[in-house]
Assembly symmetry: C2
Homo-oligomer: 166 residues x 2
């Protein structure tokens, strides 16, 4: 799937088939994260790949009861290092790479920003000097979501100076 098509057709998926991802497929998708660019090539992020069904079930109430977290094949937890200025951005870049790489392979993703940082961190044994930045569900879609509307270009882009629309 070409990049333009992936960008145009990718949607957030919130219903998943209960199905394991073959190891090779998961490895390919994580490789997209590993290859992502980062500030000064520091790759100031880590990721916990939660595959254990019991753990995924425990995560649901810690993530505002978003039940589909229990159904996805892997719950990806992006860890940032608050001592590194660009860590959060590095982590966002690699998660975005994953959303597109997964879509190309027929897998869906959904960014998860609503979670109890302390409780999820404690459950997954995240050390105190690291922080959970965001999470991503990854799995086989059990729905075909509609496109969400986006803002028109004139609300987003300026030319040469802020406020100049050309």
């Amino acid at each position: 799937m070409d990049v333009g098509t992936a960008i145009r057709t990718r949607r957030s998926v919130r219903r998943y088939k209960r199905k394991e991802i073959p190891d090779g497929t998961l490895r390919d998708i994580l490789e997209a994260a590993r290859l992502a660019p980062s500030a000064a090539n520091r790759q100031a992020w880590e990721m916990i790949v939660v595959k254990d069904p019991g753990l995924k079930a425990e995560l649901v109430p810690l993530c505002k009861n978003q039940k589909f977290i229990g159904d996805c094949s892997a719950f990806l937890v992006a860890i940032e290092d608050p001592s590194q200025r660009w860590s959060r951005v590095d982590a966002a870049i690699m998660l975005d790479h994953i959303t597109l790489a997964a879509h190309e392979k027929g897998l869906g993703t959904c960014w998860i920003g609503a979670f109890d940082k302390v409780q999820v961190g404690s459950l997954l044994k995240v050390p105190p000097n690291k922080e959970i930045m965001a999470c991503l569900t990854l799995g086989y879609p059990d729905e075909d979501p509609d496109a969400r509307l986006r803002k028109p270009p004139e609300e987003l882009f300026h030319v040469d100076h802020y406020g100049r629309r050309q």
Copy 2:
């Protein structure tokens, strides 16, 4: 170009031909940003597209003298809204979308994190309640950079619990 190939072959480009981007091509690349997902679909970012050669030349000394900023076709300045919790991440996602969409079209990009936020903001008339998050050069490559080494997977990924490598 398929997504996997784009991710594997994309490099940061720091030498550019002095050449304008056709309007249609630039529009397509910016469309990749506009379609990018964001927290609660808020798209809490804006972008200044600097095309004016005089302005690009003025930006060079404000960005640690990275001379190639003066040569790129467009200098993209991502603006975040510090009052929005996910604004920085939204902006990172849409810039990442651009790096891949540009690469597919044969254009190069380089993330720019070294800039004087206050002076660049003043030059480009960024209002005081907004902040520059990061910038991106965009243009026609005049080099063929080698791949940068990345960390091995075992330094990045944990399974089920932090510290567990499987």
